[in-house]
Assembly symmetry: D2
Amino acid sequence: MTIKEFFKNDRYAVFSGIELLAVEPGKALAKMDICDMHLNAGNVVQGGAIFTLADLAFAAAVNAYGNLAMSVETSIRYFKGVGNGTLFAEAKAVHVHKKLATFEVHVTNQAQELIALFTATAFRKELSLPFVENAGY
Amino acid sequence: MTIKEFFKNDRYAVFSGIELLAVEPGKALAKMDICDMHLNAGNVVQGGAIFTLADLAFAAAVNAYGNLAMSVETSIRYFKGVGNGTLFAEAKAVHVHKKLATFEVHVTNQAQELIALFTATAFRKELSLPFVENAGY
Amino acid sequence: MTIKEFFKNDRYAVFSGIELLAVEPGKALAKMDICDMHLNAGNVVQGGAIFTLADLAFAAAVNAYGNLAMSVETSIRYFKGVGNGTLFAEAKAVHVHKKLATFEVHVTNQAQELIALFTATAFRKELSLPFVENAGY
Amino acid sequence: MTIKEFFKNDRYAVFSGIELLAVEPGKALAKMDICDMHLNAGNVVQGGAIFTLADLAFAAAVNAYGNLAMSVETSIRYFKGVGNGTLFAEAKAVHVHKKLATFEVHVTNQAQELIALFTATAFRKELSLPFVENAGY
């Protein structure tokens, strides 16, 4: 199983129309085409949908090292409401320890405007993930 | 329109199976019965689903004052992975200024275990929401 | 050595005029009488001074369990600028795991107004602190 | 008055041995030579001292636009304890709105290792700062 296949089991992300475009240890890119189902009562994308998009990119990038990683704390700052188009989430490692890892995810729209900044810290368990043997990380 | 009706237009929350049980200015309670669609690749509820539940409770509680409020920054800390049962999100005001408001949301499961702590700050616009005239806030 | 004596070695806190009033596992109270040295260029207490006060209360409360705990992530939200009087920081455990612990600290002034909310997560090492043997925790 | 002179009135920063090296709208650099007074009971630099260093760089960079800016929320993530040497804080704008501005500050040591990541959001008041007329921002 590759890591991309592993994350197809993230049912909430799949259900939310989120696609993982690329992933390697410490980096990932995901996208979400905005549909009516992502909007809140104010007709802009719900914060939770933006969060879920960023969270998938983060989870893929941090788990790609091969250890199961659990989110400890995440913060998100929103800069602009959006009601249509496509959102992209690009995750990058800030600092990776043996036990803890911190990542940033920039969420942008199709016009490359910054929509949100997501910063997250994960706890890395000793448990290896199923794709590790095949991926050689 | 009541505030509860207004939040039925939050399509991402509705789509995620989240129900707003009670709301008044500064307080709200929401719930989500955990289904397969909420799970991540590790078979526990995706962080984004927990976030969306908490965010709906927060949005309802802060918008219930009558001014449109936009999230500025939110942080969430996770304490326990859960794979089934029901999650509840209880939002309470910490501090409400004219322009900025800070809320906390405790996410618990059916056994009243604390699953996550969500803390959020919103910017309150001058725009009044449609339910205000009827609700009398 | 008691835990209160141990924290007298926190030179930055001592230097900042911060006093640890009470501490037990999961709880602590500290205070700071506001002096000219705590003010910023706008003549209110510098955010760093409020942070340091809250951080001492948090560090005392989490280390009082007996394991050395290191801050992983901390967030602070400010509600009111203050230029004089006394600030109090009251730390309380939100959730304590074997490896990770989350605390909240409420910073109030002498009129019991909420000045800031500090939320922090620490990583608990296996190393025992020197006061543990005497304190019996 | 220049903005550098204005920030010499930040007494807590001065008292903490923090020096503002460079500042322009949206950017600033500050440093702190680590002394015994900055250490905590574990003999590494207290989180509050690192926070204060980062906060001064942030405050200078955001106030350099000319409007008085107040911190709303700040989070800091620590990556490495340090006991000696020099710390540098480099602040950069992430997003600047009329009312709200978000900045990141990277704190590094003399070996250019990342010690902490500080992310902050400020509320920008309409009040102009005294250095504005001279500085021409």
